[in-house]
Structures are given as C-alpha cells and as structure tokens.
Symmetry: C2
Subunit: 205 residues, 2 copies
C-alpha cells in the first residue's frame, strides 16, 4: 500500500500547509482580515483546493483553535511539575495570561470567536473536547487545593469556573480593546496588577 500511503501523507501535508498558511496570515493581519483567497495565495494553491481539504472556513478556524489548545495544554501540563497545588494554580493563571497576550489572535479564536463552536454544532461530535480537557486541568488543581485544606466552604466546579472567568475576563477585555478605552493609571501592567490582587486573596484561602 505504498502509493495509497504516500497519497494519504500528501493529503495530510497539504492540510497542514493550509493550516500553517492560515495561521501565519491570522497572526500577521488578524483573523477578520484574512480571506480564503489570501490563504490560497499564500500557499500557491487555488481557492477550490482549500475547499477540497476543508468543508468551509469554520472548519479551518476550528482546526486552528485545536492547535492553540494543544499549545496551551502543553504549557499547562508542564505546570504539574509544581507539586504544591496552590502554587501551581497561581502559576497557571500567569501562564494563561502570558499565552493570551503573546498569542492574541489564537486566544481570540479559542475563547471568543463563534466559528469553532459553530463547527462543533455542524458536526455530530461529543462536545468541546479541547475546552473540557484544559478546564479539567484547572479543576484538578483546584481539587488538590481543596484536598489540602484550602478553599473551605467552596464547591469545586463553580470555584474553578470563577477562576477561569477571572483570567479570561482580563485577557478578553484587553484583547477586545476595552482596557485601552478605560484609561488606567498603569495601562501596561493592569492585567498583572489585577491578577496580583486575585493572588493576594486566594493566598489567604
């Protein structure tokens, strides 16, 4: 099956090429300003070819969103080298914010754009596996904190959701230009200043 194998490999290679080209343009020019024609041009293929490998634009956006989660998930898994769950939770938030700020278009795609979720609805897969898995790592860490005696009187899932919302909210307001609008005294550090307030609070719980 050598030829069939090679064909399969070539097919996969072109799929990756399209995703790579799309990611490059997304980062360079923003997702909104990137068109299928741009992507086709970037990799020297025709528009039609893109549609052979992807059902529609949402499919490209979804696959790229998954790639983003692979990356963020990788960083999160490294954090499990930190054995103290409270320390790990604190660092997790920092890593999350850093990732969001350094990969704004990808973050937007992962947590804000409707496209990846619309894609999920159009297929009959389970749910949002990427989000569920990554949120699972937060929950797991919070659970360990609780088991160590922290967060007395709190429930695991709502508390984890609150933590996620807190960091997501900060990143989202920043990326969607709402922090730039409200003129903070220290606009450049407001994200980490805000996060430090949160750290002070949970440090006592």
């Amino acid at each position: 099956m050598s030829i069939a194998d090679r064909k399969a490999r070539e097919k996969e290679a072109l799929r990756s090429l399209i995703l790579k080209g799309a990611k490059k343009l997304f980062i360079e020019n923003g997702i909104e300003k990137t068109t299928i024609r741009n992507i086709a041009d970037e990799i020297d293929y025709s528009v039609g070819t893109v549609y052979v490998y992807f059902k529609d634009k949402n499919a490209i956006l979804h696959d790229l969103h998954s790639i983003g989660f692979q990356e963020l998930g990788g960083y999160f898994k490294e954090l499990f080298a930190i054995s103290d769950p409270m320390e790990r939770l604190k660092e997790m938030g920092r890593v999350y914010i850093k990732f969001a700020l350094e990969n704004q278009e990808m973050y937007d795609l992962m947590f804000n754009l409707k496209a990846p979720m619309e894609y999920l609805e159009s297929t009959e897969e389970g749910g949002w596996n990427e989000g569920t898995a990554t949120f699972g790592l937060v929950k797991k860490t919070v659970e360990e904190c609780i088991n160590k005696g922290h967060f007395k009187g709190h429930s695991l899932e709502p508390l984890s959701f609150m933590v996620w919302s807190l960091v997501h909210g900060m990143c989202s307001l920043e990326i969607r230009q709402r922090t730039k609008g409200v003129k903070f005294t220290n606009p450049d550090t407001i994200l980490f200043d805000g996060y430090n307030e949160y750290l002070k609070i949970i440090g006592k719980l």
Copy 2:
C-alpha cells in the same frame, strides 16, 4: 426657525428609526446576520438613506453600543440607593450578569465586538466614555468599601478591574458558547453559582 427645527427633528427621528430597526434585527437574528439591506428593508427606506444618516456600519454599532451603556448605567445608578458599599458591590455584579444574560447581543456589542472601538479610533474623540463612566461606578463603590475598612492591602484600580473581569469573564464565556461546550454539572446555574463563590470570598474581606 420653525421649518429648520422641524427638519432637525425629522432628521433625528429617522436616525432613531434606523437605530431602532437595527436593534430589533440584532436581537432577533444576531448582529452578524444583520445587514444594512436588512435594516433598510425593516424600516422601509433604501440602503442609500441609511448612509445619509450614518457614516458606516461601525457608526450604527457604536451608537447602539452607547444606548446599551445608557441602559446598564441606569440600572447601576439605581443601585446607589443601597448605602452599604459592600452590599452595593455584590448587587452590582448580580445586575451586571442579569443584564448580560437578558441582552446578550447588546452585551456582546458593548464589551466584545471590535466595531465600537474601531469607530472611536476613526473619530478624534477622547476615549471610551461609556466604558469609563460605567467602570467609574464600580471603582467608586470599591473605593467606599476600602474607606469602610474592607479590602485591606488592596489597590483600588487593579482590584476594581479584577472584579469587572470576573463578571465579564463569566458572561463572555456564556455568551460565546464556552460554558455550553464544557459540560458543567449544573450548566443552567453555573454563572450564578460561580458568582456566589466570589461573593463568599469578598464577604470576608
């Protein structure tokens, strides 16, 4: 100047009619799926007329975003009937979440969409007055809390930003379908469950 006055009033009336039609369609069909042609059809005018009263689509979105802030600001100002600042702060979050859930498209426009911010950049106004004023009400309340001896060791602006981010994050994840993806034990109440975890925490500070 009776005629000139009437003309001015008619002009303003048509402006409002366009905004009203746009808002209706946004709520009915979503902002993304609403076109200028839809809006023109809705109010029985031609596309061209819409462009006589608004520079472009961003201008419509910006004006509607301002209307949203007027509404939310109204609710916030009512809250100042509550004299205890900590109670007011807690209630403010609840009102914020309630507003977001009941006016999802408007909330998205106010805090997520790039259009209103792009409009601000295209004009030479000061900044994001709507956001600044509304965030000011949060800051003012947090300040009163601090003056009453709460939030020892915390800084006003970063702490206020943290509070805003927390509620915004929850609303944003919900509206952008990220809570639906991650299957919570109680998906219908996760927003208020998460908010209650936050209330438990600040209740002690």
